[in-house]
């Protein structure tokens, strides 16, 4: 079992979700993060003073998946999250020891 975490451009969320659904992924969790990276932040102006906002809004998605399907998921996110411009984000794959579905107590792949 793996946990796949990806940091994406916010407007790519819908595309990525659609692709993962087509792959048969049945669940994911999404949150907002502020990303710091190569992509420059933007400037804001208030009463003539300029502020540089270093952080860029990004979406963080988490998908728990079986080992077999993980490469396909990574590929799907890479494709659907791609614009080719700086700031497209990263994907990380991490090992998972155990997964439990709270509703049923099922474990492992059954829990997905």
């Amino acid at each position: 079992m793996k946990l796949i975490v990806a940091f994406l451009k916010p407007f790519k969320l819908d595309d990525v979700k659609d692709r993962l659904q087509r792959l048969g992924v049945t669940g994911m969790s999404v949150s907002e993060v502020r990303g710091f990276g190569r992509q420059a932040g933007h400037t804001e102006v208030y009463r003539g003073a300029e502020y540089t906002v270093d952080f860029v809004p990004k979406i963080r998605i988490e998908v728990i998946a079986s080992d077999e399907i993980t490469p396909a998921i990574v590929r799907a996110i890479t494709e659907a999250g791609h614009t080719g411009e700086i700031g497209d984000g990263k994907i990380i794959v991490m090992p998972v020891d155990e997964v439990v579905r709270i509703r049923t107590g099922e474990r492992g792949e059954d829990a997905l």
């Binding site: 804001e44 102006v45 009463r47 003539g48 003073a49 540089t52 906002v53």
Partner: protein, 396 residues
């Protein structure tokens, strides 16, 4: 007094009262999320402080016939014996006294002990306001005798609040995060709501200062609208040119600057002159705000750049644009008379110097008596929790 005039003055008083919560929201939107309630509270609490003192004595100190040109007696303490005309005038003037104190709060955002603010507001409103106010709003006031014209309080309200803000922040010191981290407004829509209420209320402020629903009120009303619009236009034009972006915070700041500038002149000028006054107010205030980093004090929300600068510009422009054919009894340079130049310059300087000195003394006294500032930890944690034990927003 006829019912039409009473109706107009009651409406005006209600409008000016509304300006204080309006100002609270205007300022409140500009601070960070952990200081919002403190900003609202500094403004709100000005209302009972000033109102209660007003009934007890400030009104009397300011308007009582007895007493001397500087301060009235206590004959009207408790608002005793006021007839309808005097009472409605007292109501309107009370609202002016409230917002003047509230204006100062913008400068001290995010770092002043709430107890210290309460004490300061009481002292300032009992000492500084009636002295300045009587000099210009009372028939035999000393600056009025000098010939100074202050239609609706450019000096009494804006210049006095603006210089007092400087005096107070000099004693108080800057915010910890001043010039260290970006301090972005937490909610510009909140600021916009405040600006809307301020603009709306300002019609009562200026056109209500005519004292009746007649020609002068109409002149002042139109001047108010035109100057507010021109203030926004002036600020936005300069900002757009210099930074490349016209901002909402700029738009509403320009509105307030235009309104401040026209306040001393509203009942004396033509609509076209009001356009000039408002635009100059907006331009000057934007310039001042842009150069604020050169000054060695931390006026958090630009009370100085907008109210002091706008008020000074407006008071001096009375000497240029006043025209007795539109209202009032004196003429300015464009109407061919230089007679207002000296009174306007002198009264502006006197009000600025006097209010600054008195406020500095009050601030110093309070600082040694009770301390003006919260601790660093309280400032970091936010004044909402440390001063009021509540949070502005709860996401659940």
């Amino acid at each position: 007094m006829n019912p039409g005039d009473i109706a107009w003055l009651l409406v005006s008083a209600a409008l000016v009262l509304l300006m204080t919560p309006g100002l609270a929201l205007f300022y409140g939107g500009m601070v960070r999320i952990r200081h919002v309630l403190n900003m609202l509270m500094m403004n709100l609490v000005a209302i009972p402080i000033v109102t209660i003192l007003w009934v007890i004595g400030t009104y009397s100190l300011m308007f009582d016939e007895a007493g001397n040109p500087l301060l009235g007696g206590l004959g009207a303490a408790g608002l005793a014996g006021l007839g309808t005309t005097a009472l409605v005038g007292s109501a309107l003037n009370l609202m002016f006294a409230i917002i003047t104190v509230a204006l100062i709060s913008g400068a001290v955002a995010d770092r002043m002990k709430f107890t210290a603010w309460v004490a300061f507001a009481a002292a300032w409103s009992l000492i500084v306001y009636p002295l300045v106010g009587r000099s210009l709003f009372y028939g035999g006031g000393v600056l009025r005798e000098l010939g100074a014209q202050d239609f609706a309080g450019g000096l009494v309200v804006h210049v006095s609040a603006g210089v007092s803000a400087i005096a107070l922040v000099l004693v108080l010191g800057p915010r910890r995060s001043h010039r260290k981290e970006p301090i972005r407004p937490h909610s510009l829509p909140l600021t916009m709501i405040g600006a809307a209420l301020l603009w709306f209320g300002w019609f009562g402020f200026n056109a209500g200062s005519a004292g009746a629903a007649g020609e002068t009120a109409v002149t002042a009303f139109m001047a108010t609208q035109v100057a507010a619009a021109a203030g926004m236009a002036g600020w936005l034009a300069l900002e757009w040119r210099l930074t490349g972006s016209p901002t909402l915070l700029g738009a509403v700041s320009g509105v307030v600057a235009g309104l401040v500038a026209v306040t001393p002149a509203a009942g004396y000028i033509s609509p076209v002159s009001a356009m000039a006054v408002g635009a100059l107010g907006g331009l000057a205030a934007y310039g001042a705000v842009r150069m604020k980093h050169r000054f060695p004090f931390d006026d958090a929300l630009d009370v100085v750049g907008i109210h002091l600068v706008g008020g000074v510009v407006g008071s001096l422009l009375v000497a240029v644009f006043a025209n007795s054919s539109f209202g009032g009894s004196a003429d300015g340079l464009l109407a061919g008379s230089a007679g207002l130049v000296w009174p306007q310059v002198a009264s502006t300087a006197i009000v600025a110097a006097g209010a600054f000195a008195m406020t500095w003394v009050i601030a110093k006294a309070l600082d040694s008596l009770i301390g003006l500032r919260v601790s660093d930890r309280e400032e970091l944690e936010g004044l909402d929790l440390s001063q009021h034990e509540e949070s502005a927003y709860s996401p659940e």
